[in-house]
Amino acid sequence: MVLIYFLAIFIGFLVTVTPIMNGRNSLVLGTIKTSFYHYFFASVTGMILMILLSPMVTGIEFDDISLKYFMGGILGLSIIVMMNYYTVRIKAIHIAILPFLGQMTMGFFLDYLLFGNLDLKTILGMVVVLLGLFIQSSGKN
């Protein structure tokens, strides 16, 4: 389980560095070409990993896959365009904090609506995390 927690923290590194690099690339290439390169090489990486780590693709009933499951990809299109815009205009710490506040808002909503989770310990912990965010953003630069 500790490995899972470290992986989650590593995701934080990836989601901070990736849009900053895309933002810098977009200043040179433009947002459309940058986004295309991002998705193209991500697809290639995904296919390589799929071949190496998940070669057996059987038992999947594609008729059961509703169109709603592709919403992730569609939403991702808007996200990358927005990120390419704001990541070169605000500090790295704001790139980390502000989307997090939005994610937390929606995360609480989704956890309750979809899984019925309303764990008070989780809420208390998240309030303390928010307090930490407030303290660290109040420091002078």
Binding site: L75, G76, A92, M126
Partner: protein
């Protein structure tokens, strides 16, 4: 406006992570990752073909590959971790990683960002965030 856009992106990001997670449950994490990025290749490929044909081309550099590779790894690890620990806890741990990474970037002026002195309160804030995570985990 950019800051509000960043907050709005977070709202959409949570939804995106949820839908990608659902797709990975009915297929596999790897298929959902390829589908997610394949949609982007299709959309931006067509857009580039329609709107980018007449623009002068910029020489390709190797570091243009990196964001895509990291993006693919993010999706795969995201789906795996979310299935194990849920959305809220994953977001909180990811946040810790983001804050430490971003403070490091700002402190040393990495990736083209200007150098920003890190006030001691910001490190205290990271410590308090870690306490909040401890409460959530144990």
């Amino acid at each position: 406006m950019s800051k509000w856009l960043a907050y709005f992106t977070g709202l959409i990001l949570s939804l995106m992570i949820y839908f990608n997670g659902q797709l990975s449950l009915v297929t596999t994490t790897y298929i959902s990752n390829v589908v997610y990025h394949g949609i982007g290749v299709l959309f931006f490929g067509i857009t580039l073909f329609v709107f980018g044909r007449n623009k002068s081309s910029t020489p390709f550099k190797w570091h243009y590959i990196l964001p895509g590779v990291m993006g693919s790894l993010t999706i795969i690890i995201n789906n795996f971790v979310m299935a194990e620990i849920g959305v809220t806890l994953m977001i909180a741990l990811t946040m810790l990683g983001q804050v430490v990474t971003s403070l490091t970037i700002d402190r040393f002026g990495l990736l083209g960002k200007s150098v920003s002195k890190i006030h001691y309160k910001q490190w205290i804030g990271v410590g308090v965030m870690s306490m909040g995570l401890w409460i959530m985990l144990f």
